[in-house]
Amino acid sequence: MNRELLRELVPAVIGVLVRRGADFASAEDAVQDALVEAVRGWSESPPQDLRGWLITVAWRKFLDAARADTSRRRREIRVEGEPVPDRAEAVDDTLQLYFLCAHPALTPASSVALTLRAVGGLTTRQIARAYLVPEATMSQRISRAKRTVSGVRLNQPGDVATVVRVLYLVFNEGYSGNVDLAAEAIRLTRQLAAQINHEEVAGLLALMLLHHARRPVRTSPDGRLVPLAEEDRSRWNRHLIAEGVEVLQNALARDRLGEFQAQAAIAALHADARTVAETDWVQIVEWYDELVRLTNSPVARLNRAVALGEADGPRAGLAALAGLDPALPRHAAAAAYLHERAGDPVAAARLYAEAACSASSLPERDHLTRQAARLNSQPRS
């Protein structure tokens, strides 16, 4: 059975149930139950019409649950079947689900979980495993999220920016746990890009593809972090890079720049360099200028300082860094790198060791410790 194919049908089938009179929370539950039944019962011979099967079974699950509920609460619902809607409506439904799951009333963690379940068709167990939390915890998180949006009508227009941020969050978690969240984020962003013509959705998709292309060489087989400058560029995925660049160019052509397009442009410039030495740092600094203008983010300023250190020399980088809050994440690591390039290995080693103490992940901590160790064990003149 093709589970991927099945999962792609999930948002549309939720939409069908909602249009037949189910509320979102019950419809979503019913589709999950139908999915579980499909996984259990289809090992031998899957039905010909997956979508028809899923609608029929999910609707039955919904009716069963609603009847059980009605007998307690005597709630009126429309229970008779209505014509199955056409594809155009299904596309609309999927889009509305993206908006609902990224509703501003939800916390980022809830939005992420709900999106993966209602749009991505992942089971609660899979989502729990991906985020390394107990299944009961994830189940509660999803239930609470559904209660929060229970009053929201599915046909309200939403904000693409919130959806894009949720998908970005999913992608960034993509390297931990045992569900490939990066691949799932790309699938969901592709699906979204196919339904809505929005430059930042395209920008995000490009950004994801360009980073995903480097994924196999970002860590060594024993889990060590490999810095960009040391990555084996011959093993970058050229197909993903070509696709990412094309998606980005189409987005940029619309002349409505946004932060994800700017980030993707920076990733594209790195991807374009066959060797580290070929990197066009001057253009990268210009894109960081755009990013700072768009977001006013101190993290963008920090990254800009490092890029400036490559374009105009480490002194220029250190000067740019001097104006930034030392408490910023990776400030010490950036300072360490620039000091080493400026020919001050003693300060660099001290800063790498300091950076290791405030690292946000174990591979990062080990990498920074190793950098300090490398400098400390070098013979000094």
Binding site: G223, Y352, S358, A359, D366, T369, A373, S377
Partner: protein, 136 residues
């Protein structure tokens, strides 16, 4: 089966058996050998069916306590003065206390400078179990 916590400390516990330099004073190869050992230790526990959880803690953070109605919690930290600082743990599910001690001994032999075992103290603590279904 019983669960045990193998607790690693940045500082604290009995006086160190060997007083090693901090890790940033090692050679890069020694750092690599140490991190690879940690990685392999977890993988091996998974293979034997004894691993429950492994986590590492950043040395950042603070102590926090309630400070009365309507007042924000009091914080004390970062842990500059703290004598004892937890670095991380393994939770294992093993047949016996002896097996827990054996594993802690292996973990304590993680390689340090010159590839020699660091003889690090590990704190081994039994979890409370559930009451037996068949009381004796």
């Amino acid at each position: 089966m019983a669960k045990y916590l193998l607790l690693k400390h940045y500082r604290g516990g009995p006086a160190p058996a060997v007083d090693w330099a901090p890790m940033d004073q090692w050679t890069p190869d020694e750092v690599d050998a140490h991190t690879r050992f940690m990685h392999d230790f977890g993988a091996r526990l998974e293979e034997t069916g004894e691993l429950v959880d492994a986590q590492a803690l950043s040395p950042d953070g603070a102590f926090v306590r309630y400070d009365g109605e309507g007042r924000p919690p009091v914080t004390d930290g970062p842990f500059v003065e703290t004598k004892d600082l937890v670095a991380g743990w393994y939770v294992i599910d093993v047949d016996s206390w002896d097996r827990a001690v054996e594993l802690a001994g292996e973990l304590s032999a993680a390689p340090g400078p010159g590839g020699r075992p660091i003889h690090e103290w590990l704190e081994v603590r039994p979890f409370y179990g559930v009451p037996a279904a068949v009381p004796e």
